[in-house]
């Protein structure tokens, strides 16, 4: 069984981004970029499925600028077998990403596709659900456990009230939540080996997808800053302040 994993290159989660002075966008020149953390979990899950003998091939896919190659090399170092890069400088919104991934899936014919539940830059939480819809596949979103069988997959999902388990007919889409697994650290020999693994290129044109953005960003701004308050000496003083000053008790 083949698994396709989508990995996005995003601003590292430790970086606090700044809005450009003219409010047209976010300044990401010279900031550290990494694989979206939920996608690391996705790669880890796919590789574990392969190690467990349930999956024969893991293919990582990334869409975007030239440097996505680095993200794909990380996925290869973690254990993916090969990589596909759909290279473009165009702005890609979730619907366009979903259409591109659908086109890749139609070429590759995977039985399972694993994505992160959310990219930590656009915070959209859409792409996995969209690609599942476009392919007419079932979806197991926000997964904390994936139990893969020959023709079905059981997915335990993190939902607002607790956990829920659904059974999906394969092929299907899974999106990862934080508790699914703890991604491995890549070791130097794996990084070296990853350089020799195949990384194929595709274009938006060849896949025949219209990626024109549907949402126009009119402006970006920083939210109102919250100012630091005061330190109080002890619990009694806190209770007094909450009662008499903040009036929340």
């Amino acid at each position: 069984m083949k698994v396709l994993v989508a990995v996005k290159r995003v601003v590292d989660y430790n970086v606090k981004v700044r809005v450009k002075a003219d409010g047209t966008g976010v300044d990401i020149a010279n900031v550290k970029m990494s694989m979206n953390p939920f996608d690391e979990i996705a790669v880890e899950e796919a590789v574990r499925l392969k190690e467990a003998g349930k999956v024969s091939e893991v293919v990582a896919v990334s869409l975007g600028v030239k440097q996505c190659e680095e993200t794909l090399r990380t996925a290869l170092a973690m254990g993916a077998d090969r990589a596909i890069h759909v290279e473009t400088d165009a702005e890609l919104q979730p619907l366009a990403v979903a259409k591109l991934l659908k086109a890749v899936a139609e070429k590759e014919q995977p039985q399972l596709m694993i994505l992160g539940k959310q990219a930590i830059d656009d915070d959209a939480n859409q792409t996995g659900q969209m690609v599942a819809a476009l392919l007419g596949w079932g979806q197991g979103t926000f997964a904390s456990k994936v139990d893969l069988a020959a023709e079905t997959v059981d997915v335990t999902r993190e939902v607002d009230g607790g956990l829920e388990t659904v059974k999906l007919r394969l092929p299907a889409v899974v999106t990862t939540d934080l508790r699914l697994n703890e991604p491995r650290y890549v070791k130097l020999p794996n990084i070296m080996a990853a350089k020799k693994k195949p990384l194929d290129k595709l274009t938006v044109e060849a896949l025949g997808v219209d990626v024109t953005p549907r949402l126009k960003t009119l402006k970006v701004a920083e939210p109102a800053k919250r100012s630091a308050g005061i330190k109080v000496a002890n619990a009694a003083e806190l209770v007094a302040k909450l009662k008499n000053e903040a009036k929340v008790l």
Binding site: V19, T127, Q139, L178, G229
Partner: protein
């Protein structure tokens, strides 16, 4: 054209976030219809028709909607959506699950997690863990939107909308419900609570999390939340996680106990009215957003706080 809001519910009661979503829909301007898709969900339909500002309630009662499976729900909403200018749902795990599917099938974008309505096609939404607010304009014919419920007031009750029964769509047959394991609690729901006490990694174990956080929450009539680190370590259930990738809350009072204040955590709670932080590190970033801070060991400060509250 009218606006369709998808109600969030568990077949018994209407979830509070639906009321905030109706308010957001009202800001778009247009007649608001509320869809209740479920199974044996008559009580929800009754609650829905009492929401002020709702002109009509549509009820699709069928076994295939009993557990809100995204594939089935999306098929129903896609059929209805063609008669609406906007389709909105609360940005809970239910809306986040089925609504992007609806958007893709309609070949339109989804606008996630809006915090303001500027006009019928322009909305404000947070990106980058809430460090940036983006104003976005949609060029699509149907706007598909999830709503950050803490950013909008709850709609009032006292309306009396008409209720129409509608048929179910063809079942997708892609997925089926197996089981659920819901966190049992008599406390208020996190998303709607007026007071929240949250615990972090510093609690050290599930037992200590319970022994320290719960009595304080009891005293304050509060809901309980947690940081990711506390959830990952198994001190608290997954649905307690507050933050960028967990729940977003905005209570009157948020008490952060042994939480450092990473941006991912702040993203979920910095719109609280009053924030209290208890942390032994006076440099912890949580103090930069806290109205009141106590620098000290939580294992002594929290019991003292419970006692001080008791004296009032």
């Amino acid at each position: 054209m009218a606006i369709l809001v998808i109600a969030e519910h568990d077949n018994q009661s209407l979830k509070a976030g639906t009321l905030n979503t109706v308010t957001a829909a009202g800001k778009v301007g247009g007649e608001v219809h509320l869809l209740v898709a479920g199974h044996n969900c008559g009580a929800v339909a009754d609650a829905a028709k009492a929401v002020a500002g709702v002109a009509k309630v549509l009820v699709a009662d069928s076994a295939q909607y009993a557990h809100g499976l995204a594939e089935n729900l999306a098929a129903l909403v896609v059929d209805l959506a063609k008669n609406y200018s906007h389709v909105l749902s609360p940005a809970g795990t239910s809306g986040k699950n089925f609504l992007p599917r609806v958007a893709a099938l309609l070949d339109v974008a989804q606008i996630s997690d809006i915090v303001a309505v500027e006009s019928a096609d322009t909305f404000v939404r947070p990106v980058y863990a809430g460090n940036v607010l983006a104003t976005v304009q949609s060029v699509d014919s149907i706007k598909v939107i999830t709503v950050r419920t803490t950013a909008f007031e709850a709609a009032a009750l006292g309306g009396s909308a008409n209720v129409d029964s509608i048929g179910a769509a063809a079942e997708a047959q892609l997925s089926s419900f197996i089981s659920q394991e819901l966190t049992k609690s008599d406390r208020p729901e996190l998303g709607a609570a007026k007071v929240i006490v949250s615990g972090g990694r510093a609690l050290g174990s599930e037992e200590q999390f319970k022994a320290i956080i719960e009595p304080l929450a009891d005293k304050l009539g509060a809901a309980v939340g947690a940081s990711r680190a506390a959830v990952d370590a198994g001190y608290a259930p997954n649905d307690y996680q507050v933050g960028q990738t967990g729940k977003v809350v905005a209570p009157q009072l948020y008490v952060a106990v042994g939480i450092s204040g990473a941006i991912q955590h702040l993203a979920g709670m910095k719109d609280s009215k009053v924030i209290v932080a208890i942390n032994k590190d006076e440099e912890a970033p949580i103090f930069q957003v806290a109205d009141y801070g106590i620098v000290g060991d939580l294992f002594t400060v929290v019991p003292e706080l419970i006692q001080a509250l008791g004296n009032n």
